[in-house]
Each structure stands twice: as C-alpha cells, then as structure tokens.
Assembly symmetry: C2
Homo-oligomer: 416 residues x 2
Amino acid sequence: MLFKSLNLSIDADRLLGRIRELGQIGRDDDSALTRLAASEADKAGRNALVDWMKDAGLEIAVDRIGNVFGIWRGSDNGDHAPILVGSHIDTVINAGIYDGCYGVLAGVEVIETLRSAGFVPSRPIAVAAFTNEEGVRYAPDMMGSLVFAGGLSVEEALATVGTDGTLLGAELERIGYAGAEEPGFLQPHAYVELHIEQGPVLEREGIPIGAVENLQGISWQRVTIEGVANHAGTTPMAMRHDAGHAAARVMTFLRDRVSGSNAPTVATVGCINFEPNAINVIPSRATFTVDLRDPDEMRLKNEETALADYLIELASAEGVSISVEQLARFEPVIFDNTIVELVEQAAKQRGLSSKRMTSGAGHDAQMIARICPAAMIFVPSAHGISHNPREYTSGPELVNGANILLDVVGKLAGLD
Amino acid sequence: MLFKSLNLSIDADRLLGRIRELGQIGRDDDSALTRLAASEADKAGRNALVDWMKDAGLEIAVDRIGNVFGIWRGSDNGDHAPILVGSHIDTVINAGIYDGCYGVLAGVEVIETLRSAGFVPSRPIAVAAFTNEEGVRYAPDMMGSLVFAGGLSVEEALATVGTDGTLLGAELERIGYAGAEEPGFLQPHAYVELHIEQGPVLEREGIPIGAVENLQGISWQRVTIEGVANHAGTTPMAMRHDAGHAAARVMTFLRDRVSGSNAPTVATVGCINFEPNAINVIPSRATFTVDLRDPDEMRLKNEETALADYLIELASAEGVSISVEQLARFEPVIFDNTIVELVEQAAKQRGLSSKRMTSGAGHDAQMIARICPAAMIFVPSAHGISHNPREYTSGPELVNGANILLDVVGKLAGLD
C-alpha cells in the first residue's frame, strides 16, 4: 500500500499547551499530580477535556462507565463505523503529565487539524478518554475500555469498591460522569492509540516512532512459601527450612532463566514480605509477587510451567511448602498489521525512522482490539521512566507522534 | 581433676513448680506470656523471684541497673569472691517459660539444696537475674550483665529510650527495682549459667547435657541496595538495575558459601523490605539484614570480608549502589576450660552423656566472662524452638541440668 500524505501538520503549541495545562489539574500542596479515577481531580480534568472537545466542534457522549467521547460526524458519513482514537486521563499517585493524556489530547488535536483543513472523512472520527485505566483506586485497571469492549459488565464495574471504600458507580454520579450511553454504543471501524513508550528502547536506539505490533501477555502470581521460624544463631544451616532463602532462590532462578534466553520475556519480583521479619529469626514465611510477560502466549505458558516445576523441586529440596495464587492473567494481543504498516509508512514519509515493537505495559488498546482492528504508536520516554514526576518526552518528539497519528487517521478515514 | 560428687540432688517438684508459676506471671488476655524488661509484668516476676530468694534465706541486693542478686554468705567466707550463677527473667513478646527463668530458678534451687544439706561453702554463692537480657523493649540486649561487667556505663544504660518511648531509668524507678548498689559491687570468682539450648543439636543427638565451651561471635549488618525503579513490563532484562534481584543474589551467595563449608558458620537474612514494593515496578531499593555467626573470630572476619567483597562485585555487575551499616558486633567468647571440664565430669558421674558445644545465641554469660572464668550448661530444647510458646524442655531434662549445676557449684565452692 502506498501511503498518501495529507501534507498537514498538527498545531504544536496548542497540543503542548493543553498537555501542560491538563498536567496542572490535580496538583496537591506539594505540587504532586494525582488524578485518580472518578475523584474530584479527575472531574476537573474531564471538564477541561470536554471544553477542548467542544472547542474542536465535537459532539460529546458519555457512557455508563464514564468513558468520554468527542465525536466528529460529517454530514453524510453517519452510517459508517467511526475511526476511534484516544487513551485515558486518569493518573497514578504522583504521576507524570504524559501517560494517557498525550493520546487523548493528540486525538482532539488530530480531529481539529483535519477539520479546520477542510478534510472530508469517509466515516466519523471520535476520540475517547477511557475511565480508570490506571486501576489505582478501583481494580482492575483498563476498566473503562474493558467494559466498552464487553469484557466486563457495566453493572459489575460500577459496583467496584475502591481502596478508599467508595463505590465507583456512586463516585461517577457524584462527579457528573455517569453517562447515559450503553458501553459499546460506538462500534469502531479501527482504533489507534498514541502513547509514550514508558520504556527505554526508543530512546536508547534513537528512534522517534514505535509501530507497536503486539502487546505482551501478562501473568501475575503471588507465591507464598511456608518454612519454619527458628533461632538464627542456634540452628545449623543443614537443619533450616528458611522461607526467605527459598524466595531468593526463586528470584535468582527467574532472573537466570529469563536473562539467559534470547526471548523478550521479562520477569519481575516487585513485592516481598518476610515473617516474622526479625533480624535473628529464620523467616517462617515469605510472600512475593511474580510479574511475567511475553508477547507470545506459548512462551508465556512455558515460563509459567517452568516456574511451577521449579517451585515443586524447591519445596522438596528445602523442606518448605509453597502455594501460588494467580492475581491476573492476560493473553498477548496481536495488533492489526494493516494499521501497523500505516504507522511505518507515515513515519517513512515524514523522514522519521520507526521500529516495530512490543508494548510491555497494558493499554486500553488491548481491550479495544477485542472489537476492531487496533494498533498503537509509541514515542520515546526519557530514561524509560513513567508513573513518576520525571516522566518526560520532548516537545518535538510529542509533535512527531501526533503527526503520525494525524496521517494514519487521515488514511483510515480517507476516501480512497 | 577428679570430680567428687556431693551425693545431693535438687528438689524437682519445687524447681519445676516455680518455673511453671513464674511462667504464669505476665499472661495477657490471650494467655500469651510477655514480661518485657522493667514493665509491670517484669515487676511481678521480680517480686515472685525475690520472695523465693527470701524463702531460701538469701540476702537480696539490687544494683542501679536493676540486676537482682540473692546472696548466700557463710559466717566466715565473706572475704572471698562469690560463685555466681543465674540468667534473666525478662522475656520476648509471646514467649516460652524456660528461656532465662530456668537458669535463675535453678540457681535459687541449687543454693537452697546446698544450704539445707548443711554444705559449708568456701566462698559465698549468689544467684543473679540480669535486667533486660532480651533487648526487646530497650537496646542493646544483655544490657544488665553488660553494665555489671563494666562494658556500658550505668548512666548511659538508664538513659536508654525504649520502643514505647519510655526511659529505662524511670521505668526501673517506677517498678521499684532501681537499686542502690553500683553494678560490679560483686566481683565473682566464677560464673555458671544453666540454660535451654534454644537449638536442635542436643535433642537430635539424644544428649542430655551440653558443656558449652564457647559462644559464637555475632555480626549484624543492614545492607541497602539502591537500583532504579522502572516499569516491569517495558524494561528489558538487560537494562535493569533491580535492587530486589541484587538482594536475592546476596542471599543465595551467603547460603551457598556458608552451607558449602565445613565450618559452623551460620548466616541468616531475617528482615527484608523493597521499595516501592509494587507488583509491576522494578524495586528501586532493597534493604535487608545479615546475621553472621561463628565461634572463631578469624573465620567470622573472613565471612564479613567475603560478603563485603561480593557486594562490591555485585554493585558493579548490576549497576546498583550498596551501603552497609554495622548494627552489632560481638567477638566470640571462649569459656573457661576448667569449668567446662567440671560440667563434663559432673555429667559423667551422674551417668549422663554430654557434648562440648557452642552457644549460637547470646547470653549473659558472654558479658560476665569479661570479668571472671565463666561457662554454661545446656539442656535440650524440643525441636530447637525458643522465643515462642512452643518452647519446651521436659521435667527430667530440666532436673538433670539443675543437678549438674548443683555439682559444679558445689565443686567450685568446695573446700578442697
């Protein structure tokens, strides 16, 4: 497919100004940015977004799970399924200003640019801000897009009790974003999500555009090892059943296995706890989490099996008992190759290098991929940092990404 | 040296009854036993002890750090340095009934037995209950014996602020055990401490008496590893600086090194903490403790050096920074061989097998060994468990140990 450029570019100042402005909403006394889903800060952020959507001439729709849509319908394309772009504007605690917000505001920007250039789309173009992508206040994460894609009933989602004891449904009512539309009222023709990479690969390789072809499968497990608490001074090494030591063995096993292969598998032990957690007592219990990810489902399953086998062997060798709880499990998502190719072509046409890559993080796109062809565009993250005030992508890099989104949406909504 | 038996035995019912009775003092609503140093419960325990000492006809003395002494002075041996026996009666939280109390009550029992048998000692015999051996409420542990032996000034010790914000000096005043004697007012001729093993060795080998010839040196360190927090999904394995993984490497290094040698060294990681401790974030910081023990100072130093060298290597390999804080350091203590031989001979004479062994735990004896010849006698601990309600030594085993103490004290205070 030959890619025809629109010879348009987005308004860099308008986009970057809105990103900065949205990033000031939800600052606490220490100037930390936190807009948890369905909070007062989220309400203020949503209100700002809706104002910008209205400025862009978009029709506003809110569904029952609080997803906000800005829709540009042409006079005679209303019968066609829309092109959907977007992401989320809720944040983690003490967040950066780019994660999610960039994709939503770039979506508004792209529609505004197309519209003011007199572009005539063959189908509606809509931008979505999905509710509760971060999952900090209400679990699971990516909830709004999951409900929109039919993966979770809206009733169940609204009944979610938050970490602060609140009910999501009541909080959405309170902030005025319990909408009337049934989730899924829009059936997209295609979905494209522009996002910061949140990893170090593009920056390290000096590549401005990531053409995201798939998204890692995720396996989250909690491992509990039960040993025997005993005196650290009086218990010979050979007579110990040390739950903490066994936990360390699992950690080094995972690292050695994953680092020793050429596969893109990643394994992380992020949480750990010992009991009784006393300097002179051999731990009787160790609890830790395992985060395993791989873009290939077969390989992810193999890693899970290898871990399970090792735990059996370890329990026997150390005289401990080990139990495992599955906390989350998502299969890898393969994005639509046609859209991925459009991203590559758009980059090439603008003289930007691009790289096919895997998303290591979860995104709304993985949910929307259940109901339509979908893909993502990544831009570099400085030092790979996100979910942190130091999250940073330079203005020119943000503008590059938004222009690629513009080209891809123009192509998808083009008449040819 | 040929050992001459006194042909005496302690009163088993009296000793075991007092152990049980003291073990009922300081029970909470859930019937858990806790007598933290200088608490109300400790006061009640001390009062019971003093009553028993008085019943045994002992002169009571309390020093400024609250150590309680019951002294049996003969009519014409007052010029001689006393034989001191004893241990402590403070406990950990949710304790067993034997740790410490056994040695103190057996000391009272031994003196009472000798006295009522008309034994004429060549020098005074005294029994001590040292303040705050456990160190749970006030650090350091073994405080009373350390002050008594001149290793810590009484003023500094009394100024210790507890985990509950209290001042030890004020608490001793409050419970009526801020005594008048200067610590060290007694200069012992010898010290013998009878104690449960708190380890599994005697039980496993079926040996009733441990002749404790030395006490392990202890090195406590807190290791802090600083890495880089990053997204668990988007950060390739090769680009990680995972503080948690580095901590696991230290743990397996220590275990492999110590278990792979024939030396009696023990190494334990009892406490651990990750930051930010989130399932999907690579730990930026791991903090953990290392408890290293060995009866040989040179070997203990070698282990400390090997750990330090490994940390340097690991910091470089993993791109993390590592700092170490020394929390405690005690050199090994060599007990007095003459007393150890007396223990062995007494056991033999009573037809009991004995084993020369190392104390893996810290005890008041290690402090008193600074000022006079000292040794310890161990009896088996069921399953090696202590500092726990399941701490248990059978009645006959307790009686055996007390009779060996009787014989050894009789010998040390004999006229020959």
